[in-house]
């Protein structure tokens, strides 16, 4: 088994050598109206499918719980902002605390995971050190670890470290899942940055760390954006570990755990749940919007080369 077979050769990086691939060929002439219609129709349908569940959550978020399940669905049914008001007022549990915890945890996970992954990815990309490939393979294997094996031992470990029930413990746990993928992605990205840039930096008087900090990180910004997005979304929406580790006190819950109060086998408060979901989705959407223009290029140069 050899991870390196995943590593294809580096492509020209963002420094300009790369010739941007022209869009799919065959369009020197104009598309026929029928083809154009088909193209847009397909994309509109796909977009609708992609967006609709989220849209419907939005619609539901304005309905009272008792109207959320209706015999014939309607856009508006006694809709109001009450659900939001109650949630934000803390009537349904300490929503703002959950929100803050989630932001803290996802934010720290993002920063820490990206920093760790960037330094590791850079080391693996640039320094052909013994163990580097082994590390990459190890990371691939880490992706396969089912949390079921780890959750109890991790619980014990965090307990003995005094981190059980703390945001810090959860951040570390999330890093173990986020760092491997991010490292892969950033390694691919660094591979695409010509080594001459490093060398020029060192000629100009930078230490190796200076090269990393002042040249590689700025140049890898799209890659960092994508890995940051990945780490953020992963931590923001994680349920299992958060449930096991952070459910001790209402104040310490994350959104994913806290929101479960709305979803019970015997009483689902769909209206409140939907409103809370929309509130939850907003930061994720903001992060998403900030990085979306990097997503394609970042993934292209990064993870996909693996």
């Amino acid at each position: 088994m050899d991870v390196t077979s995943l590593q294809t050769s580096g492509r020209a990086g963002p420094s300009g050598g790369r010739r941007p691939a022209p869009p799919r060929s065959g369009h020197r002439g104009r598309r026929s109206p029928a083809a154009s219609f088909g193209l847009h129709a397909a994309l509109v349908v796909a977009s609708l499918i992609a967006v609709f569940p989220v849209f419907w959550v939005l619609v539901t978020s304005f309905k009272p719980d008792s109207r959320a399940i209706e015999a014939s669905p309607s856009l508006i049914n006694e809709s109001s902002l009450d659900n939001y008001a109650r949630i934000l007022a803390g009537e349904k549990g300490d929503f703002l605390a959950w929100f803050g915890n989630s932001l803290l945890i996802a934010g720290l996970t993002t920063v820490l995971a990206v920093m760790l992954a960037a330094s590791t990815g850079y080391a693996v990309s640039r320094f052909n050190f013994p163990g580097g490939r082994g590390l990459l393979f190890f990371f691939l294997v880490v992706q396969m670890f089912p949390f079921a094996v780890l959750i109890v031992p991790l619980y014990n470990l965090l307990l003995s470290l005094g981190l059980q029930g703390s945001a810090g413990g959860l951040v570390l746990v999330y890093c173990t899942t986020a760092v491997p993928f991010c490292t892969y992605m950033l390694k691919g990205y660094f591979d695409g940055i010509p080594r001459e840039i490093d060398e020029a930096g060192r000629m100009d008087g930078l230490s190796p760390f200076g090269v990393f900090w002042r040249l590689m990180l700025p140049l890898a910004r799209p890659g960092l954006a994508v890995t940051g997005f990945y780490a953020f979304i992963t931590a923001w929406g994680e349920v299992a570990f958060a449930s096991a580790f952070l459910s001790a006190a209402d104040q310490s819950k994350t959104l994913a755990v806290g929101l479960q109060v709305f979803v019970q086998q015997n009483r689902t408060e769909w209206g409140h749940l939907a409103a809370a979901s929309i509130l939850v989705a907003i930061p994720a959407a903001v992060v998403f919007y900030l990085v979306q223009r990097f997503l394609v290029s970042g993934l292209a140069a990064g993870s996909v080369k693996g």
Binding site: S5, A21, V141, P153
Partner: protein, 330 residues
């Protein structure tokens, strides 16, 4: 001043025999050369290693015991551990396929089907959308944003939303199906239809990642390859199979491997949408059931499942990478 030729250099080529005294020098040289790299990697090794290797070792140990919630040590409550080592009993029980231990083989088969179908759809739809999005047109950015959206929504929110939509009696999906005269199945009931439902949700969730990755891959295929192929008289289909697909290989091989691994261990979608439904049970959800239900949580069986999942994935990755390599060698 004038340089001399070094024809005599050959006699210096042989590296001198290294004496024992040089060993220490070699170690130092090794460290001198690589310590920077190791310093960069160290934090990750410590964090990931500490939080993966140690727990994993403990988890593997658990599989040889009968540990559960009732007999695990509890430092806080001052309780001593009193579980016993039971050897391979857990593995034998699970691998016997006994329903009492989750009908391992049946569930494994379902897990494989689940992973295979999900990843196939992820890849197929993702590639289709990527090809569409890779054309110049109006609203391209808008489409792209909308299509990536499912990725940005936290998975548990999506799961709840879909559970709501899939409600057989009051859900929007059946209302739509019914209003155009189509059958309205019980999506999340105790039948194989539930599997279809969770696959739909998981496909919905997973397509954006594939699409974005493949779009990136498409953009890195040099355009002149298409031009060359066109001049050689290749039809659009031939260009797709002869240039696009091979050009996407590095991307595809990675995302498919990751996709299979992720889907294999995809827990929230199934668990949050259908709960403990035997028709949607895959290995990971069963491990979770054993972990979180039962009068006393059965850590031993849950861990055994975990180790088996890891083994299956390792075997898969090994075969996959080998196949990939031999294909590349051709």
């Amino acid at each position: 001043m004038v340089a001399t030729t070094t024809g005599a250099a050959a006699e210096h080529r042989r590296p001198g025999p290294r004496g024992g005294t040089e060993r220490r020098g070699r170690v130092r040289r090794f460290l001198d050369r690589y310590w920077y790299a190791y310093a960069l990697v160290l934090p990750v090794v410590v964090v990931v290693g500490g939080l993966v290797i140690l727990p994993l070792a403990q988890g593997v140990f658990f599989t040889f015991t009968n540990i559960n919630e009732g007999n695990i040590a509890n430092p806080v409550l001052g309780r001593e551990a009193d579980y016993d080592v039971v050897g391979l009993a857990n593995y034998l029980n699970v691998l016997s396929g006994d329903p009492a231990y989750g009908s391992f083989w049946g569930v494994l088969l379902r897990t494989l089907v689940w992973s295979g179908i999900c990843v196939a759809f992820h890849y197929g739809i993702g590639l289709g959308l990527a090809l569409l999005l890779n054309r110049p047109m109006r609203f391209r950015t808008l489409y792209r944003i909308l299509l990536i959206l499912p990725w940005a929504v936290p998975a548990f929110v999506s799961a709840f939303a879909w559970r709501y939509l899939f409600n057989a009696d009051y859900g929007l999906i059946n209302w739509l199906l019914g209003s155009v005269g189509l059958p309205t199945p019980v999506w999340l009931g105790q039948s194989p239809v539930a599997m279809v439902a969770v696959i739909i949700v998981n496909v919905w969730l997973g397509v954006p990642f594939m699409m974005v990755a493949l779009l990136g891959g498409l953009q890195s295929i040099p355009g002149d390859l298409y031009e060359a192929a066109e001049i050689d008289g290749a039809t659009p289909w031939q260009r797709f199979t002869q240039i696009t697909l091979p050009g996407l290989r590095p991307v595809s091989s990675t995302v498919i491997l990751l996709g299979v691994i992720w889907t294999f261990n995809m827990f929230p979608v199934i668990y949050l949408i259908t709960g403990q439904n035997p028709h949607t049970r895959i290995l990971i959800t069963y491990a979770f059931e054993r972990f979180f239900s039962g009068a006393t949580r059965d850590y031993a069986i849950a861990s055994t499942y975990g180790v088996l999942i890891l083994s299956v994935l390792l075997v898969f990755a090994g075969v996959y990478l080998r196949a990939l390599r031999s294909q590349e060698a051709d």
